[in-house]
Symmetry: C2
Subunit: 140 residues, 2 copies
Amino acid sequence: MEHIKEKLSQGGYKLTRQRQVILEVMQDSEGEHLSAEEVLQVARHKSPSLGIATVYRTLERLAGLGILYKTRFDEGKYRYELADDAEHQHHHVQCIRCGRIFELDEGLLDSIEQEIMKQGFTVINHFLTIYAICPECNQD
Amino acid sequence: MEHIKEKLSQGGYKLTRQRQVILEVMQDSEGEHLSAEEVLQVARHKSPSLGIATVYRTLERLAGLGILYKTRFDEGKYRYELADDAEHQHHHVQCIRCGRIFELDEGLLDSIEQEIMKQGFTVINHFLTIYAICPECNQD
DNA sequence: CAGAAAATGATAATGATTATCATTATTGGA
DNA sequence: TCCAATAATGATAATCATTATCATTTTCTG
């Protein structure tokens, strides 16, 4: 939490009550991937007058600072999750039956990146989403 | 072109003038990834009264039949491209400078899929997008 | 050729996000 | 401490892509 506050102030942002609440929501929902609307619903428990515009602005800033990951699955909206300390970019498997999202190990894409770099590209980032049927749904 | 017509009628759809025009636009733009709005602009050269709703409906049907791929890059809209004959799913590298999109070989993800299957998943599909700086932009 | 079914085009509705703007909160000096 | 400058907030309008609606037109089948 401390290093997050640091990043905020380094970015020239203040840790307001609203930002604190939104950060807490993100921390309390480890492993989930929340949309802006979902963040708002939960955050209003602690800050009932919170507006959706502030949620969007805050999530955007936090993502810009690398505190959150901003990902778009194959639906119309972005989802956010707390970034780990490490620099690594991770990936997802989404179950097409139950909709749950599973994390995928990093490093799996290294060989692909190397191939592309050979062709003269500088790789900045990559996003992989796999659609599958999860083990539980497979039992039905 | 013939096998596309076949697929259409097999799906219970008629090859109307509008659908023909939209298909031609997609065929004439090999290697590009067009949004619905872009398809409309080009298609209106041949069919000026074409409506955007028809474009959306047609692209959706063609994608449903596997004639087109429907992909969402990290922006708010879908883009479409003609699917190859092969079943394979391909992937993209997008240059963050010039915005151009490059195709990526298939097969690169096989090892990752195998890993996930070991964990009990049934893989249905996967989407990989890599953000990079392309060789040309790298020279600036 | 008629009549049913499908397709079209105009436009309204929707959902997510961004922009605007008046109000409120915060902060670093006098 | 108080005050102005600046940043942040919340309400709401605007925007953008997409989907839904519906009256009209087209197409196919008999």
